[in-house]
């Protein structure tokens, strides 16, 4: 990296951080979607990302299906997996304790990981970038067009979700179910369906993250756990349940990781995000943007 000034190096780290941070933001949103309706933390959230990436590789590269169609096919399949997970594993255990629920979602994540290994093997897979391969220079730093795709997709997802929750009847019904399931039920909202939809929706958001990140970072069967853990870090940092907090915290986690990799040690970059996760959990479990009062209401 000779000949590149320190300031452009910093910009480079920032760009990498924002790119990866977008993915953490999406994973964090996925956690929030399910958490808001059910108060379950889905330990298989990272697996949706992994499946999104791998199914996209299958449809776009192996089956040679055009990009946009492959995108929707991938979404459909992963949503189906999310809904099936809710129907066959979460729903039957509806009155289980938190401990049991944790173990159920962990079991689902092992199952999905094992199935992915069965289907794709252990090697990482490549996916061609959506547009130009060549990086362009932005204030002395190289930017891959795929980074813009990732950032753009994240913003679109956030916009669509906001629209869905604020403007559509169905979205408002979901908010009602998360706010007070009993009252929502009395108002004629089918809370059971809402729970199922929340799993489908969160699977979709996870899959989108997997689809857009694969051209930059490749994808393999066992990537889910770490992505999920860092996404959870972002969700907690932003205040569990808060969508905008999740997005902002996602970027923060990504930036922290990228600067740690660039300035301190690349080997410890995975630990950086987790150290932050632990500190936030210990010092301020309600997150940067969450309120302590709400936290107290949602005692486990």
């Amino acid at each position: 990296m000779e000949g590149i000034s320190f300031s452009s190096q910093l910009i480079q780290y920032a760009i990498t951080g924002v790119t990866v941070g977008s993915i953490y933001a999406l994973v964090a949103i996925g956690f929030n979607i399910i958490y808001n309706v059910t108060e379950i933390i889905n330990f298989a959230q990272g697996e949706f990302v992994m499946l999104g990436g791998l199914f996209m590789v299958f449809f776009a590269t192996v089956m040679q299906i055009p990009l946009l169609l492959a995108f929707f096919l991938t979404l459909t399949v992963v949503i189906a997996i999310g809904v099936m997970m809710e129907r066959f594993a979460i729903f039957p255990a509806k009155n289980a304790s938190v401990l049991t629920m944790i173990i159920i979602t962990i079991a689902c994540s092992i199952l999905l990981k094992g199935a992915a290994m069965y289907g794709w093997g252990k090697d990482p897979f490549m996916l061609a970038p959506f547009s130009d391969r060549k990086a362009f220079v932005f204030v002395g730093a190289a930017v891959f067009p795929q980074s813009l795709w990732i950032l753009g997709t994240t913003l679109i997802v956030v916009f669509l979700l906001t629209f869905f929750y604020k403007r559509t009847r169905f979205g408002r019904a979901m908010i009602a179910s998360s706010d007070n399931p009993d009252a929502a039920q009395l108002m004629g909202i089918d809370v059971k369906t809402m729970v199922m939809v929340s799993f489908g929706l969160s699977a979709a958001v996870g899959a989108v993250a997997g689809i857009v990140i694969t051209p930059i970072s490749l994808m393999e069967y066992d990537r889910g756990a770490l992505l999920g853990l860092k996404g959870f870090g972002a969700a907690v940092l932003g205040g569990l349940g808060h969508f905008y907090g999740a997005v902002l915290a996602g970027f923060m986690v990504g930036l922290m990781e990228s600067f740690c990799a660039g300035l301190i040690s690349s080997g410890y970059k995975d630990a950086a995000a987790l150290v932050v996760l632990l500190l936030v959990l210990f010092l301020r479990p309600s997150g940067l943007f969450g309120s302590k009062e709400v936290m107290k209401m949602k005692e486990f």
């Binding site: 594993a89 944790i102 079991a107 092992i110 290994m117 069965y118 959990l281």
Partner: protein, 315 residues
């Protein structure tokens, strides 16, 4: 130890000691079963981890997904001190155990204020951080390529150099830990722990110092895991970070859940079953045992949430 339940546990323990004592005599005469003694060494080692995990999960109702980190800490401290600094294992093992206990205390005090999902994620995060450290501190741990030339254990002039001798050594530790744990369970502390599982608020109101008890049991479980790690080290004489990754924490959790969370006998049963399953019966599935693991765990937790021991209790 005046409760009848306590006497029952001691009776089970005595039967187990007898069974473990004669087990090698049964299998060593049959050539195709001879390696079962090697597997039983691992069952013993993992049992040490899982007895502790069962105390944390089954009796206190807390989740720890970082048990592999304590296992690894015990393994690496003992491995590094003996292989790189020429210590005797008998000096290195206690150092590792005490150090792990201290780490567990430092992590446990703030972690155990958290509940449910938060605690699970905190312990999971801690486990991954230590895994990264094992990989990155190449000068000490050998990094991803591993730490080799770790010496075995000797008792005075008597070298523990065969699987059979190691089998008896490991199980001696298991019985000591079991005896101690049974005492804990049936003491005042054990009743306090169960009251925490029932309702922490109620336990607090009754004057149980819940957070101090939770931390103590967490430290004890880490100490067990650390001891197991040290025994693992000197049996394998080689360490690599992959034995202490996230999947191992989950495997320990699975063993406890499959056997039955609410009893240490369940932890032993689950450990035995899953260790044989992965070392022996699932070999035909090669790498795909992960898939079967996930399925077994899911089915057990959904249809038999109290684990396999609950079948024995009904019958």
């Amino acid at each position: 130890m005046t409760t009848t339940a306590g006497k029952k546990d001691i009776r089970v323990l005595i039967w187990l000691v007898a069974g473990i004592a004669i087990f090698p005599a049964l299998v060593l005469n049959v050539p195709s079963f001879r390696h079962y003694v090697d597997i039983m060494v691992f069952v013993g080692i993992f049992s040490l981890v899982n007895i502790g995990l069962s105390l944390v999960m089954g009796y206190t109702g807390q989740v720890s997904l970082g048990q592999a980190a304590f296992f690894g800490l015990g393994a690496y401290v003992s491995g590094i001190l003996t292989a790189k600094f020429g210590w005797s294992p008998w000096a290195a093992i206690p150092v590792g155990v005490v150090l792990t206990g201290m780490v567990a205390f430092v992590v446990g005090v703030p972690s155990l204020k958290l509940k449910g999902h938060y605690l699970a994620m905190a312990t999971l995060g801690f486990g991954v951080i230590l895994y990264v450290v094992f990989n990155e501190e190449v000068a000490l741990t050998g990094g991803p390529s591993g730490l080799a030339d770790i010496p075995g254990i000797a008792i005075g002039p008597w070298e523990i150099d065969t699987s059979l001798k190691y089998y008896y050594l490991v199980w001696a530790f298991v019985f000591a830990v079991l005896l101690f744990s049974i005492n804990v369970i049936h003491s005042r502390v054990g009743r306090a722990l169960r009251s925490i599982h029932g309702s922490e608020i109620a336990a607090n109101a009754m004057g149980v110092p819940t957070s101090s008890y939770k931390t103590r049991i967490f430290v004890i479980s880490a100490v067990y895991a650390s001891l197991a790690g040290a025994l693992y080290t000197h049996y394998m004489t080689f360490l690599s970070p992959s034995s202490f990754d996230l999947f191992w924490s989950i495997k320990f959790l699975m063993m406890v859940v499959v056997g039955g969370m609410s009893s240490i006998w369940g932890a032993l049963l689950g450990t035995c079953l899953l260790t044989y399953l992965s070392n022996e019966w699932l070999h035909m599935f090669h790498d795909f045992d992960v898939l079967i693991y996930g399925l077994v765990l899911l089915l057990i937790i959904m249809f038999l949430p109290k684990g396999l021991v609950s079948l024995a209790r009904k019958g």
